[in-house]
């Protein structure tokens, strides 16, 4: 079992490819890997409660995948109400996750 840090900078409003990444995350988790998704930049847009794609985030949370949203990106976009189960953190936490032994980091 590996640890994955999946950093999503894209959003489903702008990029059809974010669907691929959500499926990839689910696929890695289903193989028994530990997956953390770190949403950054416009990647935080679906995290806002009521957004069209908030269900994508809720599905990740339901699948026991850790979902963390970058606090600066949230603040920058005025996002205050988050999908339940989403944690928030700064890049300090991202670095901690990055250097955890056995972690593979994938940016999208």
């Amino acid at each position: 079992m590996a640890k994955y840090l999946l950093i999503e900078s894209r959003d489903p409003f702008d990029s059809a490819d974010s669907q691929y990444f959500a499926e990839l995350i689910q696929g890695l988790a289903k193989r028994g890997n530990e997956a953390t998704v770190f949403l950054v930049q416009n990647g935080v847009l679906p995290v806002r409660k009521g957004s069209k794609y908030s269900t994508v985030i809720a599905d990740l949370v339901k699948s026991k995948i850790k979902v963390v949203a970058d606090r600066f990106s949230l603040k920058e976009r005025g996002i205050r109400q988050l999908v339940d189960g989403v944690d928030t953190a700064d890049t300090d936490r991202l670095v901690d996750l990055l250097v955890e032994p056995g972690t593979k980091a994938i940016w999208h």
Binding site: D96, L98, V99, W107
Partner: protein, 136 residues
């Protein structure tokens, strides 16, 4: 978890993508935590450290360059080098030499060095973590 080494590859040119700012935030967080950081600046990212970058006024806001305090990425990178020195950790910033040549982007702030893909590979092999932040 201090004292590790992280390698970050970046590709975006300055003032074009949120990726550049995020990359520099990650580098800053890593240095602040006492980690060494290798940066491989590939393609447009070699322009991040160009010495000739200059702050400009903002005619829309009616501000002068001084009032606007417009940031430049070369100042941010220079500041990260100072931070690394103050913290006693290493920031090794490699600008891809061929990318520099084709862009005429060879005059940098103090700190970066010229290199190539092998430097990136060696840095990654000697690191506990590698993160590639591509451009689109």
């Amino acid at each position: 978890m201090a004292g590790k080494t992280i390698t970050v590859a970046i590709m975006d040119a300055p003032y074009e993508s949120a990726n550049s700012t995020t990359a520099l935030r990650i580098v800053q967080s890593a240095l602040a935590k006492g980690h060494n950081v290798n940066v491989f600046a590939y393609e447009g990212a070699v322009n991040l450290t160009m010495k000739a970058q200059a702050p400009h006024p903002n005619p829309v806001k009616g501000t002068s360059a001084e009032q606007e305090a417009h940031p430049t990425t070369k100042d941010w990178v220079a500041s990260l080098f100072k931070m690394a020195k103050d913290k006693g950790v290493k920031l090794d910033w490699v600008n891809c030499g061929l990318c520099v040549d084709e862009r005429g982007a060879g005059d940098w702030v103090e700190g970066p060095r010229r290199g190539g893909p092998k430097d990136f590979l060696d840095a990654s092999n000697a690191s506990q973590a590698t993160l590639v932040i591509p451009t689109k």
